[in-house]
Amino acid sequence: MKKLSQWCALAFFVAALLFAGSARAKDEPKPQKISASAIQIVPVQSDEVKIPAEFQMALYEHLIEELQKSGKFQHVYRDGDKAASDSADVITLRGNVTGFKQGSERKRQVTTVSGATSITIHCQFVDRSGAVKLERDITGKVRFLGGNLRATYDFAKKVTKVVDESF
């Protein structure tokens, strides 16, 4: 009998904690969404960590493709596009590579557990005045199926998710 009451007390305590947690989450103000009608993509920089040229271009092209697919922006401009200067509230996406590990597709296929490729990029969303509106470290990975360049596709997908949440 005593044990049962102890279990009841424990269950009540856990339920109270969960309720308090959810109530706090409701009270917290949601981060305000950033408004922008257009985005311009700049190729990622690799000042300290060097990445192969094909990775740099694959990152750039996948970002453009995925952001166009998301439909969050009226225009997705490429680097150097003259039309971007006419847009009033254009956000520029800049990235700097902070981590890169080139794995091996052969190792992935043979061992399944090793040979992963990963690329970490510090992303900044900058407005026309140069103010940083949002910055995140985003990592793209390929663990099992696909070539090394698939990590760039994974990265672009994750960036699109961040954009969906914040814009």
Partner: protein
Amino acid sequence: MKERAVIPTVFVAMAALLAVPLHCPPSYAQQAIAVPHSKQVLGFENVKPNKKGTLSVEKGTLEFKHGKEKTDLAVTSITDVITGDDSQRAIGGFVGTLSMFGPYGSGRFLSLFRTKIDTITIQYRDASGGLHGAIFTMPQGKAEDIKKELVAEGAKTSIPIEPAAATPQKEAPKQ
């Protein structure tokens, strides 16, 4: 008797054919270069990713022919050409994917067999100044030829082409 007459004629004809290149001056005009079995990985405008076809450079144009369609690009709009190397599964495509489910790890075993390939990354600007990046893969040893041809026809590159192997220096006599 007839055979005797034919044989000298054949010799004369062969000798004449061999002598022709000696009298003709070598042509230094730009030769068109075409690389079949190339693959457009991504980025080339109006071409779907992973399309296979023939990549060629001719008369100031980079052309990718896939099936009946062809897409071209003015070489002068290319701002950078970079070559690299990679490898791909010897048995690829649908059969390659199916083989991964083979019994007793046979799929994994087949993954060990890979062929070396060259990659070429091209950066170019469109009419409105927008930057594009296209990646192609091709059989080993072909990317450098394409790069040389592109640079010769006016494309820019951030990594200069290495000069042809210099004539080996004579070893100093051992004393």
